[in-house]
């Protein structure tokens, strides 16, 4: 993507290394990893399970320290959690004693911002993810897909330019997952965020992304990067296009090494 190189780099990994030191010895999770993610780009990372995808995301969000190399977000090196990053975890991690609305407003409370002025914004997000009428429900009264949509709203409430998502739809059934993909695409089209998306579903990665990065087994480094040039917005029927199938096959064979 040489022609795009003039765009602003939002996330950059430079010769990133990560080694866990545990009582049972060292686990070399990430080795010499280099990726550049541009402003408003949607990049998916796929790779065998246990290769270090979650670790990569946690380093990006400042939850884990790196061992060597560089991670820069929006031009500055990462040295802890920052306001410009919103995160969606594998599980919805909603507080079960809070209603949908209060869960979404949690980051606002923590940052001691005026709740009043964000309440309207929260309602807009609730509308965006199609949860109108559920704002006073407790998480236990929602389905898994609905809960994950709430956690997406929570990540968006502070309007961060960067969204990190760690297999957010991994525990959903296939149909719900397809719905969520459409919804996420729609939200990304409206909000135009830089997204780093982790998944183990290759079709999901191709459907959503501008670019798909394949990681090797541990210690993980980039083995393949594929540009996805389908026109947007994408339709579910795009998955039956020849080109879509070709990209999936290409990625699948790269994952097997």
């Amino acid at each position: 993507m040489k022609s795009n190189d003039h765009r602003k780099v939002m996330i950059e990994f430079q010769a990133l290394e990560k080694t866990f030191r545990t009582s049972k010895g060292e686990v070399h999770a990430i080795e010499d990893l280099n990726i550049k993610i541009f402003d408003k780009e949607f990049v998916s990372v796929v790779g065998p399970s246990g290769c270090g995808k979650t670790t990569l995301l946690k380093i990006t969000s400042g939850l884990l320290p790196r061992t060597a190399g560089g991670v820069a977000v929006n031009g500055s090196p990462v040295d802890g959690p920052a306001k410009q990053i919103g995160m969606v975890f594998q599980n919805p991690v909603l507080l079960k004693w809070r209603t949908v609305l209060d869960n979404i407003l949690l980051p606002i409370e923590i940052l001691k911002l005026p709740r009043r002025s964000y309440q309207e914004k929260a309602m807009e997000l609730i509308k965006l993810v199609d949860l109108i009428g559920f704002e006073n429900f407790l998480p236990s009264e929602l389905s898994g897909g609905m809960q994950q949509r709430v956690s997406l709203c929570r990540a968006l409430i502070t309007d961060p330019p960067i969204l990190l998502m760690d297999e957010p739809f991994g525990s959903l059934d296939a149909l719900t997952r397809d719905d969520m993909n459409l919804e996420l695409q729609r939200i990304w089209e409206t909000k135009k965020k830089t997204v780093l998306f982790i998944t183990h579903s290759i079709p999901e990665a191709v459907f959503l992304s501008d670019r798909v990065v394949v990681l090797s087994p541990r210690p993980s480094k980039v083995v393949l990067t594929v540009d996805v040039n389908f026109k947007r917005p994408r339709e579910p029927s795009d998955k039956y296009e020849k080109e879509f199938g070709r990209l999936c096959t290409l990625l699948r064979s790269a994952i097997k090494k």
Binding site: F89, L95, W97, I110, E141
Partner: protein, 263 residues
């Protein structure tokens, strides 16, 4: 939206008819069996009075019994409140400072395995014969389940939740108030329920050893004078007091953690 219907469907749980009456009925059945047994076996009231005699005794001695119950209630409640304050404070401190946790945990366990009854005379010697030693003894027994349960609740938080709180840049105190404390509430209330029953035992045992009033004192005195109906009357009042205190805590629990009482 069809999802809304599923949500409504969740609330179809209906309790079996008469569930609320069940504990009351077992109590009545127990009293009836007791009465029938004592009368049929012709047991002397000094050995074991039938409940009718005990209740008659209560009816005729209400002022005396209430007077003593008042003393004991004060000791129980003060001892319990002290154990809540000290227990929660210790648990909060131990959650945030692991060195403190490691230093105090063995001491707390030690304080519990030592028989308090053996120390009670010493406490009376130090603290006199007023209400204070009784409160302190009730406290030393009752604070244990509060510390252990609160500490367990504060520290057993889903690690992904802690990650979330770090990502949204919550400080320690915010994480404690909005996550750890709320998360621990069901366990804290379990601890409080055990603690209140232990506070009852503590206050009564303290009165056995060095009291001049209270239901425990009545029990000891009536025992030595073979006034068994008085002893049973005191026991019945004591049980009632314990059940009422337990019930109050259950009520507060239901009001403060409604989310764990759904379905």
């Amino acid at each position: 939206m069809d999802e809304k219907q599923t949500v409504k469907g969740l609330d179809t749980y209906t309790p079996i008819k008469g569930t609320k009456l069940a504990p009351f009925l077992t109590l009545v059945l127990f009293l009836v069996l007791w009465e029938v047994f004592v009368r049929a076996a012709n047991i002397h009231p000094i050995v074991m009075p039938p409940p009718s005699v005990a209740f008659k005794y209560i009816a005729f001695n209400i002022p005396l019994l209430l007077d003593h119950a008042y003393t004991t209630m004060n000791e129980i409640i003060l001892g319990f409140l002290l154990s809540v304050v000290v227990g929660l404070t210790l648990a909060i401190a131990m959650t945030h400072f692991s060195l403190l946790n490691r230093a105090l945990y063995p001491l707390i366990v030690l304080s519990q395995v030592l028989p308090k009854v053996a120390f009670a005379p010493l406490l009376l010697l130090w603290l006199g014969y007023g209400i204070l030693p009784k409160v302190v003894i009730a406290f030393t027994i009752a604070f244990f389940p509060i510390v252990i349960n609160s500490l367990g609740g504060f520290t057993s938080v889903d690690p992904e939740m802690l990650d979330l709180f770090r990502v949204i840049q919550a400080n320690r105190w915010q994480t404690f108030l909005k996550l750890r404390f709320k998360n621990a509430l069901p366990q804290i209330f379990d601890g409080l329920k055990i603690a209140i029953t232990l506070a009852v035992i503590g206050a009564v045992v303290a009165e056995f050893i060095g009291g001049d009033s209270g239901l425990g004192y009545l029990i000891i005195v009536s025992n030595s004078t073979l006034d068994t109906p008085l002893m049973f009357a005191a026991l019945i009042i004591l049980s009632l007091a314990g059940i009422i205190l337990f019930g109050i805590i259950m009520l507060i629990e239901r009001l403060s953690i409604p989310w764990s009482f759904r379905g």
